[in-house]
């Protein structure tokens, strides 16, 4: 061993710090602390936070999406049910309306038919009356012509004036009615 080492050994107390070393040691520590604390650790902390957010946020987003999908499904189902209900209601309404319409049409048709029938009857009646009147006149004149041919010429005016023909025809008619009543 070199003598100076021996000398150093004698005066050295391992528990007494040497100030230059304390200062160098502190300086080194604060360099490490400064660079790590100011730059490196905040940046990694930020990334770690981002990573945590990415994972947790992803889960949250998935949850939110699922909840939204669920809500949409519920809403869709509700709307579907409502639409079905609405459709049923409309169908029912249409059916009722159709039935009412048909009834109304039927009544209208009935009414028109009756009107037409009544009109026809009236027409027939009128025609019949007219035809009867014409016939009566024709038969009267034919009969009186025939009679005057048979009896003489002069009867014509007289018969016409006295209403003989009419009376005769009425008589015939009442006989016919009586005959009809008897046959019934």
């Amino acid at each position: 061993m070199a003598p100076e080492v021996f000398l150093a050994e004698e005066k050295m107390n391992p528990l007494l710090p040497a100030w230059p070393e304390v200062i160098i040691g502190l300086l080194c520590f604060f360099i490490v602390f400064g660079i790590l604390g100011k730059k490196l650790l905040p940046s990694i902390e930020k990334v770690l936070g981002e990573r945590r957010d990415a994972i947790e946020g992803g889960m949250k987003r998935a949850d939110a999406a699922q909840a939204e999908a669920q809500a949409l499904l519920e809403q869709y189902r509700a709307e579907l049910a409502e639409a079905r209900h609405e459709a049923a209601r409309i169908t029912e309404h249409a059916r009722e309306q159709g039935a009412a319409l048909i009834t109304e049409m039927r009544e209208e048709g009935q009414r028109q038919r009756e009107a037409i029938v009544a009109a026809g009857h009236a027409q027939i009646e009128a025609d019949k009356k007219q035809a009867t009147a014409v016939l009566r006149q024709d038969v009267g004149s034919l009969a009186s012509q025939l009679a005057s041919r048979i009896v003489g010429e002069s009867l014509e005016d007289h018969a016409r004036q006295s209403g003989v023909i009419d009376r005769f025809l009425d008589e015939l008619e009442s006989k016919a009615v009586a005959a009809q009543g008897a046959s019934k």
Binding site: M1, F6, E21, F29, F33, L36, G37
Partner: protein, 269 residues
């Protein structure tokens, strides 16, 4: 570079050459200056501490300077280290309030650890923490933080009470306990914090040196070779053991620093 020079100078000193055993001593921890500036010597431990600072900064720079969401392998290793100190030491001890002190304690942990590791790095082969000045400086940082936080949070009276007045103790014990607590918290804590780290590294280094020197000393073409090889195996075993102690001491140092800070931040009782 005392240790290396000394070993080299003993190159011819063996068990069978009539040379006495060059027992390593305090000289192992005293280094010839590499250079001197104005009466201040620049020594190997200083150089090593600077190298250690650069290594820690370099490592974390490489790992965290451009952090990515999907980490590179290097970043992943850094993250594991950072997360270990943050979660298993700081947040575990201080709780949520400890976030603020994570950077300081992370820096301290890795700085102390690498300074301890220097013990078994070839060519360095000296634990910087075995020079009391380095743990003392760091303990001073812890002490200033501890005291500063105590008085900042509780004021002077509350701070003193926090330091000296344990809760749930019957009144008459206080006569004994208050002075003890005062002395323990303010003076003993920083001292033991520094000395614990120092002494562990000091003793570990001395053991490795003793067995390394012995295995070289005993190396001779006699029965000594057997002792020498046993000594060598022990030195290797101790080196592995030291690897554990280095980590453990860094862990304990930062763990205690965290618990002091936790004590300072504790609500008054």
């Amino acid at each position: 570079m005392g240790a290396d020079v000394q070993l080299a100078s003993e190159a011819g000193c063996h068990f069978d050459s009539g040379c006495g055993f060059p027992a390593p001593g305090l000289g192992e921890f005293d280094f010839k200056p590499i250079f001197s500036v104005g009466g201040v010597d620049f020594t190997k431990p200083m150089l090593l501490s600077i190298i250690c600072a650069l290594l820690v900064v370099g490592f974390f720079w490489a790992a965290f300077a451009k952090p990515k969401l999907l980490p590179s392998k290097f970043q992943l290793v850094g993250e594991i280290g950072y997360d270990f100190v943050k979660r298993s030491i700081v947040l575990e001890t201080i709780g949520k309030k400890g976030e603020k002190y994570v950077p300081m304690l992370v820096s301290m942990f890795f700085f102390v650890w690498i300074m301890n590791i220097m013990s078994i790095v070839p060519f360095a082969q000296f634990p910087v923490m075995s020079r009391i000045a380095y743990p003392a400086g760091l303990a001073l940082v812890v002490w200033v933080t501890y005291m500063g936080l105590t008085f900042k949070k509780h004021g002077f009276v509350g701070g003193m009470k926090n330091l000296c007045w344990p809760s749930g103790i019957p009144g008459w014990v206080m006569f004994i306990l208050v002075p003890i607590e005062f002395f323990s918290n303010i003076f003993v804590r920083p001292f033991t914090l520094a000395v614990r780290a120092f002494a562990n590294m000091f003793a570990g280094h001395l053991l490795i040196v003793v067995f390394s020197v012995a295995s070289w000393y005993l190396l001779s073409p006699t029965i000594g070779a057997l002792y020498g090889s046993v000594s060598f195996v022990v030195a290797v075993g101790l080196t592995a053991f030291e690897l554990l102690v280095q980590f453990l001491q860094a862990y304990i140092f930062v763990m205690l620093a965290s618990s002091y800070i936790a004590g300072a931040l504790e609500e008054a009782h």
